[in-house]
Amino acid sequence: MATQHSRSAARIMMAPAVFLLLVWMLVPLCMTLWFSFRNYLPLRGGDLGFAGFNNFTRFVSSSAFWPSVLTTLIIVGGVLLISIVFGVLLAILLDKPMWGQGIVRILVIAPFFVMPTVSALVWKNMFMDPVNGVLAHLWRFFGADPLVWLQDASVFSIILIVSWQWLPFATLILLTAIQSLDSEQLEAAEIDGATPLARFFFISLPHLSRAITIVVLIQTIFVLAVFAEIFVTTGGAFGTRTLTYLIYQRVLESQNIGLGSAGGVYAIILANIVAIFLMRIVGKNLDN
């Protein structure tokens, strides 16, 4: 256990990192809060003084606000669902001994290393393009009319692209978790008469619950802020405008920094609500 001395030494050694983190986070946060109360229009006169709660009421009363919150939540939920379900299945599959295991694992993990902008462009131009995309060819092969993915199934397309990027992460975490499962537990269950399906639900899945919790928490944080994938595919059209994208439009397209900052504060609140909600449901998996 830590002695008095080692504790104070630890504090001193941690101080630079804590200081850096604080500055890193606090400065932008304070600036956002400050601008959200200012009437700041860079191209129309600059900082025009104090605005009270004007920015906040204007941001919420905009007809785009609630749909954008909803879109954000749908995208987060969809990505979580796909990456957890397929992540668990892939992890179980990859855990089985097979020929060329090393290469298969690297291939599965590869999408994680592709930059979001690049992967979104690849999906947009090579897969989802209604004329030349692979999916369009597939549709035509079966005699169907190609789907205009980014227009007719826009939100689903975004979910698909983002899931494709996050699936490797989920698979990787879940694979390491599944490898730590004591094989004697599965054998004991087998002797106890559990079918393969029962073994999965009663033994493997509970064993994975902690890893799943971690994947859910981390992915939620990142997917709430998803931007590049929307920017290069639909540009926020066809109902794919998330809260982040709305803020971007307010700041850069409408050149209203005060309004955008107010949106930023709402984004913080939304993230916290989601976080509290998640911790309530899955957080208990993390203790014990």
Partner: protein, 334 residues
């Protein structure tokens, strides 16, 4: 019922033959112990019986029916693992209930069996706890509880006590023996602990490199070991195996004398030597005597406390009627 027969059962992992074709019969209600040095295939044999490993060739019959191809669940056997293999996220009650739940037994019957098992194993106060909140001995009892509620045809134990401390091991040993007396169900028990094997078994199976060296009651093995390996393996401390001219006097390649069958004197005897290490246990004294030709050191066991220490000269005389003789192949000469 729980009669298990192995007929020419063979197991190989790839090219490595772990168990060459082997025959064994386990009678209903018997307590059979597999002993042998580490890596000799005890666990593998047990797992073959359980159905966790496939036989390479040969037939396993349970109660006269061919069970070679049956999945583990269908063999009506219960297994207790060395690591206990409890389900960590379930309470003790759910752990014990698991096999019943898998068998879709009705709730009232489940409860009745769980209560009975918990009472028999002193687990009633712990039913709501998780395995992580139990001591090693309690976990072991939960594992046994999970096995007995199924009322299986036979129990399989793989070194169930090796993770417990010495005192607890003695206690659990008795509990398992009593359980066997009460249930009268076949038990197959793997261990490398001498004392467990000698005290618990109706029948001991001594294995070496997958081959059965001898099958018999504990005292059978103690009094008439079939070969040098069994002679050296059964009994603690180990039997002294003397070679050379001393053995030739008995027309054998090797003679064996157990430490407790050697008389010791400070004045006269057959063999002379000096005491190396003297272990004074209070109840017994173990002397390791150097200088006897053909066996170094000779271990001698003397009841009670004796005033002999390092460096003392002693004379040893093996009791003539307790000398085991072995030929050049290591087999017993009757």
């Amino acid at each position: 019922m729980g009669r298990i027969q192995l007929k020419q059962v063979k197991k190989a992992f790839g090219d490595v033959v772990v168990i060459p074709p082997l025959d064994l019969e386990i009678v209903d209600g018997e307590f059979v112990v597999f002993v042998g040095p580490s890596g000799c295939g005890k666990s593998t044999l047990l797992r073959l019986i359980a159905g966790l490993e496939d036989t390479t060739s040969g037939v396993i019959e349970i109660d006269g029916e061919d069970a070679t191809a049956l999945p583990p669940a269908k063999r009506r056997l219960a297994m207790v693992f060395q690591s206990y293999a409890l389900y960590p996220h379930m309470t003790v009650r759910k752990n014990i209930a698991f096999p019943l739940r898998m068998a879709k037994m009705d709730q009232a019957e489940q409860d009745r069996r769980i209560e009975a098992a918990a009472k028999a194993l002193n687990l009633t106060d712990y039913l709501h706890r998780r395995p992580g909140q139990l001591s090693g001995g309690q976990r072991q009892r939960v594992a046994i509880g999970r096995a007995i509620v199924r009322e299986p045809a036979a129990f399989l134990f793989d070194e169930p006590l090796s993770n417990l401390d010495a005192a607890l091991r003695v206690g659990m040993r008795m509990e398992i023996s009593e359980l066997h007396k009460k249930l009268k169900t076949t038990m197959v028990y793997v261990t490398h602990d001498q004392v467990e094997a000698m005290t618990m078994a109706d029948k001991i199976v001594v294995l070496q490199a997958g081959v059965i060296e001898q099958v018999g009651s504990p005292l059978d093995l103690y009094h008439t070991p079939r070969n040098k390996f069994v002679a050296g393996f059964i009994g603690s401390p180990r039997m002294n195996l003397v070679e050379g001219t001393e053995a030739a006097k008995h027309n054998a390649t090797t003679i064996g004398v157990r430490p407790e069958h050697i008389d010791i004197s400070t004045t006269e005897g057959l063999w002379q030597g000096t005491v190396g290490v003297a272990e004074h246990l209070g109840s017994d004294t173990f002397l390791h005597v150097h200088g006897v030709p053909g066996c170094d050191p000779v271990t001698v066991r003397i009841a009670g406390d004796v005033a002999l220490n390092h460096g003392d000269t002693v004379h040893l005389t093996p009791r003539a009627d307790q000398i085991h003789k072995f030929d050049a192949q290591g087999l017993r000469i009757s």
